[in-house]
Symmetry: C2
Subunit: 158 residues, 2 copies
């Protein structure tokens, strides 16, 4: 599929990392107690949304690179904001390293992500980012409901 790239692999990664930075700053804004307890309309607290994101990004990318189809588990033994932030920060360099191992020509190969989602790799990776934006947007509402100003959506680096 030789063509003029509308978006290069490096730009895609930079886009993702910008979102990860914004999500990290959203997580930082939550008070400890509300991070684990506050929710609206029966939804999960933001800590659980973050654990979902953690259980998708690095493990999903690792499964993609290693072509394994291990299922995901959103239940992580992370019980404080500090632990969530530490895992977030530990995963970022792994994500960069794993992502860089996927050759351009593999982005259209199908991978059976988590043994459940058999789609082209580019499509699964877009889903990771979409899902992060979606849940972070929900975190913004939680913060507003708590009277806390969220980070600026358009600001993608510290």
């Amino acid at each position: 599929m030789e063509t003029t790239a509308i978006l290069t692999k490096e730009e895609f990664l930079k886009h993702w990392l910008g979102h990860r930075d914004l999500t990290r700053r959203t997580l930082e804004k939550f008070p400890e107690k509300e991070l684990f307890e506050f929710s609206i309309g029966g939804m999960r607290p933001f800590s659980e949304l973050i654990m979902e994101l953690l259980s998708i990004a690095e493990p999903g990318l690792r499964g993609t690179v290693e072509r394994n189809d291990k299922p995901y588990s959103h239940k992580l033994a992370l019980n404080s904001k500090a632990e969530l932030l530490a895992r977030w920060d530990a995963d970022t360099p792994k994500i960069i390293e794993l992502f860089n191992q996927i050759p351009e020509e593999d982005f259209h190969l199908e991978h059976n992500l988590f043994g459940e989602y058999k789609y082209p790799i580019y499509s699964n990776l877009l889903y990771f980012i979409d899902n992060e934006i979606h849940h972070r947007g929900q975190g913004f509402v939680y913060l507003r409901a708590l009277g806390i100003e969220p980070p600026f959506f358009w600001e993608r680096t510290k």
Copy 2:
């Protein structure tokens, strides 16, 4: 920038249209009154978030194609769910037609979007989608708070 595309122009458009379809179904779920009146934490009601999206997608793409830098206006004279849905549906074929007019090789050109956001075209278009996902995620929280089940996030076509 000849390379193996990780994502083609057609795939990018399909991705966007899938999101538009999900956002439309989210809009449909709102009761008329709550669409214009309900909000959480001082945020805008979902009707205003939809008007923001309407004032970005088609006008922003038109500005990009015509290389004009007319400012946006989020204030649209749309006062019912039916009017919002009608505008949404009217814009979709225009978006397809405008998007298809941008040659692959132009995606890395800078355009001063709305006279304010001078970035490569691919970056502005990614922002349109990100912003839609972000605000739709907020709409999901509004729906949950109203006791209404949102559409499935992963379902992108009717």
